[in-house]
Symmetry: C2
Subunit: 106 residues, 2 copies
């Protein structure tokens, strides 16, 4: 599976990196859209106000921080929220950012 | 009380502003030191590796985001964590950043 990009292990998750990923509103929107969908989503299906190349960058930042897992299905790059992994590393953080209050503020 | 600086109401708390305050490691350290102390602390008592004027800036950012309340006792500027207020606005966020995991990562 040479096309699967690298992902950090839970033990490698870094709070500073996770927060730097989540402080960007577009990236936070990707996370909340994955949470809302409750299923994996292809890159092209997100409602985000940025170019495709900028979106690719945002997905990469989220992946490298451990927030999403990316994999291919045919030619589609799919995105999965790594909620269980993130909960192990930083319990409650993803929950706090996907409450109705936090989503209302996005 | 002309010397009490302005503070936002809970209804004015903004998630983007709160996350921008918390993404800075020095500011996050101020928050976790207040959480550890479980009491209000004077500005001069924090263990942070920055100059006094930089520290003053960091306290201001935290205050304007609603994370701390500042008040004077004599000539000391005291800092209180606004945990209850933050919990109302963004439930679980401060909890998630003050777990042993999050503190260990600071």
């Amino acid at each position: 599976m040479g096309r699967t990009p690298p992902h950090p292990e839970v033990s490698q998750f870094d709070l500073q990196q996770v927060l730097e990923a989540l402080v960007d509103p577009v990236r936070r929107s990707i996370v909340t859209q994955l949470d809302d969908a409750a299923e994996d989503l292809a890159c092209g299906t997100f409602d985000i106000p940025v170019s495709k190349s900028t979106a690719t960058h945002h997905f990469k930042v989220l992946r490298e921080a451990g927030l999403i897992r990316q994999y291919y299905v045919g030619t589609s790059r799919m995105n999965a929220l790594r909620r269980a992994d993130m909960d192990k590393a930083f319990p409650g953080l993803l929950d706090a950012l996907t409450t109705p209050q936090a989503k209302g503020a996005r």
